[in-house]
Amino acid sequence: MAIKTKKILVPLDGSKNSLRGLDMAIHLARQSQGIVTALSVKTVPGIYAIHPLGFLDFNSMTEVKKLLADAKLRAAKKGIQLIGKAIAGDPGYDIARFANNSKNEIDLVVIGARGMGSAKEIFLGSVSNYVLHKSKKPVLVVK
């Protein structure tokens, strides 16, 4: 197979669109025998991000973990290895930073067109838009 996308990053937020993105990433990973990295960012309002007690919010972190476990199961059913990562912070910024980090060696970012943000817009979600602009890696927007 000619697809060179070995490591695919999928940001997850539990919405239907992000699951579609995950399906697509799994599909692509099957073609290239790659690895899917799922990144789930828990939104932390600005001030808590630097507040030491901000990370003590275990309750919602378990929610994120559950999301990643579900994703892992979904990928395992298709025979794809999935690495889950949970971060607390600002979704757009952290996803872009994760993708650009050369240590992670991400080849492709697969993102749903919109996620949990506000009303059902016709247009791109804010996080998707941010990642699209800031990521230095190819981005696939799944609609």
């Binding site: 197979m1 579609r20 399906d23 016709i122 791109l124 838009n129 699209l132 927007v141 609609k143």
Partner: protein, 142 residues
Amino acid sequence: MTVNSFKKILVPLDGSTYSEKALKRACEFVDAFNSEIILIYVIEKSIPINLLDRKEYLGILRKFGTKILDKSKLTLSKKGISAKIFLKEGNIVNEIEKLAKKEKCDLVVVGNKGLGSVARFLLGSVSNKISQSSSCSVLIVK
């Protein structure tokens, strides 16, 4: 797997290195999914520059467009891929979307910027608009 495999891929070209990159990336998809490729070059008609020699200007663009399309088709056929080519006139984004709808494309592959006059270091205007408003999936090649 579910229905979401890319059967038809639309690649808008503008002659820049970024669009060539996008084309290369699209070829990879063809290998993996056995999909069709559709190439499009849009002659921008919306700018009211050169009102006097408009005809000449458009003629040059038309020539340039066909040249690029033929060249790309040649590179594709070397890889054993056949492609449909389209030459359209009008607003770039509108025409691309119209064609994507008409041909029922599943994926649009664009470079992150093109021949826009200002050297932007972020997303180009056309790529941005396509990603905002197209109804099918978009791959931004960087």
